[in-house]
């Protein structure tokens, strides 16, 4: 029985008076592809951001790859993690954002090589060689010298994926990565993710409104509502035979809005 690579235990998080996560617990196995779905404000993006340490938690514990994420053990006691501990834990995790967040003042190549060179001390030549492999994988080897502003949204997002992969994380988080794209550009990004899933054993968590993609891609689907996981299961169970009433009504609304399931 392999141990989970992510163990979320009773996490709570509020923004002011709004309780966005309410004692959330979940586990992810190594290599698992997980789709997080649910209405906006249900906490699915927040848990991704918490895993990337972009938010602080109010309570609970998270274990990533056998180690506490927000705590460190010192003499048998659990203390709040310091920046050094967080930096070490972040090496295990990469994230791709809805709005790409490429560094606009750096060319595509520099976007991909910057972090490996600065955080891991990789030499420029080696970093660029690896970057070319990654850009080739996302189909943008010819854009290495382009500036982000010269790229389409789909191309930007593929560069963002290459940038995250350059640090060789064990876990990749995808936060609504196709939501900001024109419809005709969605597929090129999804194709890269399919390729990634097929060619690597990385653990992948994605928050998405692309139900068709979630169905084909994920090993397991979690349905979030009001800061809790209401229902989880294999894609067929969730999309074809949802048991919970809230899941049913959510999927009905999504289908009515024209999304393919």
């Amino acid at each position: 029985m392999p141990t989970p690579i992510i163990k979320v235990d009773a996490i709570s998080k509020s923004f002011g008076a709004f309780k966005v996560l309410d004692g959330l617990s979940m586990q992810v196995m190594p290599g698992e592809k997980l789709a997080l779905i649910g209405p906006s404000g249900s906490g699915k993006t927040t848990i991704l951001r918490i895993l990337m340490t972009l938010e602080k938690i109010d309570g609970g514990h998270i274990q990533v790859d056998g180690e506490q994420l927000y705590h460190m053990e010192r003499n048998g006691q659990l203390l709040a993690a310091d920046e050094r501990h967080l930096a070490r834990m972040r090496q295990k995790i990469g994230m791709v954002f809805q709005l790409f967040n490429l560094f606009p003042h750096k060319c595509v190549m520099d976007n991909v090589t910057l972090a490996p060179m600065l955080t891991k001390g990789v030499a420029r030549a080696a970093a660029e060689k690896r970057a070319m492999e990654l850009l080739d994988m996302v189909g943008l080897a010819d854009k290495a010298k382009a500036m982000p502003a010269q790229l389409s949204g789909g191309q930007k997002q593929r560069v963002a994926i290459a940038r995250a992969l350059a640090l060789s994380p064990k876990i990749m988080l995808f936060d609504e990565v196709t939501s900001a794209l024109d419809p005709e550009l969605v597929e090129e990004v999804l194709n890269v993710m399919r390729k990634l899933a097929a060619e690597t054993d990385m653990t992948m968590l994605l928050v998405t409104h692309e139900m068709g993609f979630a169905h084909d891609f994920a090993d397991r689907v979690l349905f979030f509502d009001r800061g809790r996981i209401v229902e989880e299961g294999k894609p067929d169970e969730i999309f074809r035979h949802p048991k919970q009433e809230r899941t049913q009504s959510f999927l009905k609304k999504i289908i009515a809005a024209g999304h393919r399931v």
Partner: protein, 219 residues
């Protein structure tokens, strides 16, 4: 009262000496203001409340008092506690500190204008705080604020005659001294005005170019 061209040519070398000092003071003052401003802007964002508050109050204090008073303090009062500065050094420190509190606001706005996503991407790339500032935030924040900074430097240039109050031999001081020697004011003062006007106009052209070159960043 008639204009005497011979007198103009006679005093010109002295005035040009003054212009050189004026320009030197402006350049050094600008460099110092750019550095002090960045320091203040960063300190005010510090997580250490005492540092952030203290520097904030210091900046308000400097901005709320006249430059001339500050110059007098630096040049005439500091020697009482054993700090004796040459006039030009005192003047540059005064200009740099005073305008640094204004450029700090420019930096603040420039830094605030960098989207939150850039900070988050830097964190997701596991960049350290220092690398995030030097490689991601400042390179994006500074170019768009170059025109606003240059504006303050031009304003500073026009305030340099205040340095004559602490015996810096800049343009105004040289003009005053020739005027007092020959009891003729019209030529020296007109020339002072003309020098400032010409250099200001050149600076405005430079500023327009800077605005065109750096004013916006493509995302």
């Amino acid at each position: 009262m008639d204009w005497d061209w011979n007198f103009v040519w006679e005093i010109m070398p002295t005035l040009i000496q003054g212009v050189k000092i004026t320009i030197l003071a402006t350049i050094l003052g600008s460099v110092l203001a750019a550095i002090v401003g960045l320091g203040i802007a960063l300190a005010r964002r510090s997580e250490n409340r005492i540092v952030a508050r203290g520097v904030g109050w210091f900046a308000e204090f400097i901005r709320g008092t006249p430059l001339l008073v500050q110059l007098y303090f630096i040049f005439y009062v500091l020697p009482d506690i054993g700090i004796l500065l040459p006039p030009l050094v005192a003047g540059v420190i005064g200009l740099g500190l005073h305008y640094g509190t204004y450029t700090a606001e420019v930096y603040r706005a420039g830094i605030d204008n960098v989207p939150r996503g850039q900070w988050e991407a830097a964190k997701a790339c596991n960049l350290s705080g220092r690398h995030t500032w030097t490689h991601i935030i400042l390179p994006q924040a500074i170019p768009p604020m170059i025109p606003a900074l240059a504006n303050y430097f031009i304003a500073m240039f026009k305030e340099t005659p205040l340095l004559s109050a602490i015996t810096v031999l800049e343009l105004m001081n040289q003009a005053k001294s020739v005027a007092n020697t020959y009891y003729r004011y019209i030529e020296p003062m007109t020339l002072v005005g003309a020098f400032f006007l010409v250099i200001s106009l050149c600076s405005v052209v430079l500023l327009r170019w800077l605005e065109h070159r750096y004013g916006r960043i493509e995302r």
